[in-house]
Amino acid sequence: MTSAHDIAARVAAGSSATTEVETSLAAISQRNAELNVFLYVDEEGARAAAHQVDERIARGEKLPLAGVPVALKDNLCTEGIPTTCSSKILEGWRPPYTATVVERLLAAGAIPMGKTNLDEFAMGSSTENSAFGPTLNPLDPRRVPGGSSGGSAAAIAAGMTPISLGSDTGGSIRQPAALCGVVGIKPTYGLVSRYGVIAFASSLDQVGPFAANVADAALTLEVIAGHDRMDSTSLPETSPSLVAHLKDGVAGRRVGYVKELVDGSDPDVAAAVAAAVEVLRAQGATIVEMSIPELQLGLSAYYLIAPAEASSNLARYDGVRFGLRVDGDDVAGMNEATRTAGFGAEVKRRIMLGTYALSAGYFDAYYGQALKVRTLTINAFQKAYADVDFLIGATTPSVAFPFGSKTKDPMAMYLNDVFTIPSNLAGDPAVSVPFGRGEANLPIGVQLLGPGRSEAGLLAAAQVLEDAERAR
């Protein structure tokens, strides 16, 4: 598929956006029935939006994403268009408003093609937890695309759209990006508005882009980032300049090669990271081998903090105002029947975990303790960043795994996020960039992590790896 940069350039030069939309629709119709990437394709809306983009270009507007088809994870609110979070409890619900990130894409001339599949309420690492069936990995349909933003990653891998949006609470952008062989960015917490993003764990959730290349991902992030007064946790600054810094390289940069971000991964993954480290060294970076033991504590802290927040965020799905309602004898009975029928097993598991962690008598031992570990993680990163500019490690312990291989054991599934979770706890940015191939010739993701607001530097490093990968 043509890159977002090239599409925007030719549409700006007078080529019709309708052509781009039809190309995308054709790619979607070719494989969506097989792969289950999109839960909803907005053909009419996309065609209408293409006409509008053409008109705006004719009027002389400068649109950074003119005519670029984009896929939206189905936890982003879109006015009048079904938004389900891949849950039965929201089946048929059409939001009366649109998420800020989607508004910004529209303002930039991008064309939403529809809504992509995810693990229910973004809880999972394989899209197997979707109430509407799993998404298959376009590179090998017997394997998972990762999750929770599996649909948005697969949309890129299948060539359906050049860019897409996902959300990352514990790795939900980076992990599927790695498993699908695309670029994924988890931005600094607060860089991208959460208004209209259906919450999983509010203090960890962050929206970010997927793309087939670093430059398109950077451009998309530039469009969606920047202060939003509708989100109180939004950072005050305007969107950073990223694309302009993509050729900055890594010469003179100090890079931490972190033991805990590789340990436990398969040999093919570890080898890819080692190769990436050599590329950076060859390009003038100083490599500092380091150990940050606190990062190993992240997983357990995350599986208390995220479910605790989720147990509260998901309370509103009570059958009273919107979505599914199953009648009961009284209000409490109706609440219970609705939630029993509407939520899947993983969502119920996490609501119970989180409710327990916040309960009187257990709060200090679980949630309170997890917050302390979160502080430890933040401090450990800060200490590391006093010495190095950014860190490198694996995104996931393995390449894409077969369906059903981890569904019996929640812990095995949770361990898939062990390398990605620390960035969410710290609120720091991280990028997954495809580098090398592993088992069954499947792509491997290398992860670059930096301190808050270091996106420009991280993406420049990712560009170095992408250039090296292309040259091989």
Binding site: P95, Y97, G196, V197, D231, S232, T233, T355, A360, F363
Partner: protein
């Protein structure tokens, strides 16, 4: 009502007041009472998926104003989520301040000189309003429930007192004084009947000097009268149980105004576990010192200070005048009285007429201009109108907005010119020498005889006090 000898009441109050902001606490919806059901709502106050709260600056400002008026310290504060399921609470959690409130450690001095400590005054959001149809009218057993979310997200400040009050009357006085302060700060309209203020009372009893007894909380009292009655009832209930050798069970109770009694809502064991945790969608609230100073400097005088100011216009206030001044400040009429006195009205008359006649006609206050008020009082003070006539004129000005002089004339209250009265009295004294003699010797009853004669001669147009003054002048 007081408890039997040897028992003491201990009362603490939690007062919820709706803030008079233009918009709700976390969204741009209008904060307005009485609109069509579910017409003042948006994704945020409906708790729709993906919506986020944004704190209202005006609400913070009013909360700080309340804090400063109650001598609290303002400190950096945070918001928590209080989690429980209820249909009129759209997110199934309430955003409320918890361990770090915006205001803490203040006090309120009552008119009787007692001091009640204020533990905290914190911000939180209101819920929607449920109406249960059929069955008992409460949620259990109702056929259907209707929910209006217009009130959902309306800003509230909860003011928590220490357990410092020792009688229901004192608790009532505290609530009344607090109401005056909330109105003075502009934070609340103080309309109890619209639910702008709601009271929860924590009541226990003990032997004087003993440790605090087990308390019960009476929820959602919405008038000063209910507050006082419910506390008296509850304390008496405790004493009866304890004197019978029983124990008080800590619980939340409901007050029935019709039955005049409290009943169990839920026991301590049934209490929800609210699973409070820091609201991740909001950041710490740290009003700058400059902002705090601006709010503090803009605070108008509070009721206690206004009562004191008003009392300075009478040299030796009687207890009736002290009460009257309380009524006047309560009705926000103190400025009016001070202005009237500044324009030449008699202070004692202004206080008396305002706390009685104007208070009675307060709903049509708009009809009474300051000039009309001053003119009426001056006519009364000069003896041109009798007290009764002045009250009648005042009532009519309030009712119709007419001119007091014209009303007096139309009612035939045309007073006698003072030299006319003087001539008349002179001729009556001449005509009734015996009576005059007895009056001069000190028989005050004879004054009434002369007044009667004057009234007869003037067909009731004269002022009794003016007649007495005229007689005394001749003694």
């Amino acid at each position: 009502m007081s408890l039997p000898d040897g028992w003491e009441m201990v009362i603490g109050l939690e007062v919820h007041t709706e803030l008079q902001t233009k918009t709700k606490l976390f969204c741009g919806c209008a904060n307005a009472f009485g609109a069509d059901a579910n017409s003042q709502v948006c994704p945020v106050c409906l708790g729709l998926p993906g919506s986020l709260p944004v704190l209202n600056e005006q609400a913070v400002e009013l909360a700080m104003a309340i804090g400063f008026a109650l001598h609290c310290s303002v400190a950096p504060s945070t918001f928590h989520r209080k989690n429980y399921f209820y249909p009129d609470m759209p997110k199934d959690y309430q955003i409320s301040q918890y361990d770090l409130p915006i205001n803490s450690n203040g006090y309120l001095d009552l008119p009787d000189g007692s001091r009640v400590t204020i533990e905290r005054a914190h911000l939180e959001e209101d819920t929607g309003k449920s109406t249960h149809l059929g069955g008992s009218g409460r949620i259990h057993g109702a056929d259907r429930s209707l929910v209006d979310y217009n009130r959902s997200g309306v800003p509230l400040v909860e003011i928590v007192s220490g357990p410092d009050m020792r009688s229901a009357a004192q608790a009532r006085a505290y609530a009344a004084e607090l109401r005056g302060i909330l109105i003075a700060t502009g934070a609340s309209d103080g309309r109890l009947e619209e639910g702008s203020m709601r009271f929860d009372a924590n009541v226990s009893v003990r032997r004087p000097g003993a440790p605090l007894g087990t308390r019960c909380e009476i929820k959602n009292l919405n008038s000063l009268r209910s507050l006082q009655r419910a506390i008296d009832y509850e304390a008496a209930r405790h004493v009866a149980i304890l004197e019978d050798g029983g124990k008080i069970r800590q619980e939340t109770r409901h007050w029935s105004e019709d039955l005049g009694e409290t009943s169990t809502m839920r026991t301590k064991e049934e209490a929800d576990d609210y699973r409070y945790f820091l609201e991740p969608d909001l950041v710490e609230l740290s009003p700058s010192i400059e902002w705090q100073d601006r709010v503090r400097a803009a605070l108008p005088p509070m009721p206690a200070e206004r009562r004191a100011t008003l009392l300075t216009i009478v040299s030796e206030p009687t207890s009736a005048q002290r009460d009257a001044v309380g009524v006047i400040v309560d009705l926000q009429l103190d400025r009016f009285v001070l202005d009237a006195v500044a324009q030449g009205a008699d202070a004692a008359l202004a206080i008396a007429r305002t706390s009685n006649e104007i208070a009675a006609g307060i709903d049509s206050l708009a009809n009474l201009s300051l000039d009309s008020f001053v003119t009426t009082l001056q006519l009364e003070a000069s003896g041109s109108l009798s007290a009764t006539q002045a009250k009648t004129v005042l009532a009519e000005v309030l009712a119709t907005g007419g001119d007091p002089v014209a009303i007096a004339a139309a009612r035939g209250f045309e007073q006698l010119a003072s030299d006319t009265l003087s001539d008349l009295v002179a001729s009556l004294v001449e005509a009734h020498p015996d009576e005059w003699h007895r009056f001069r010797e000190g028989d005050e009853k004879l004054a009434q005889f002369f007044i009667g004669q004057v009234m007869k001669a003037t067909k009731g147009q004269a002022n009794g006090k003016a007649v007495i003054a005229e007689l005394n002048a001749r003694r």
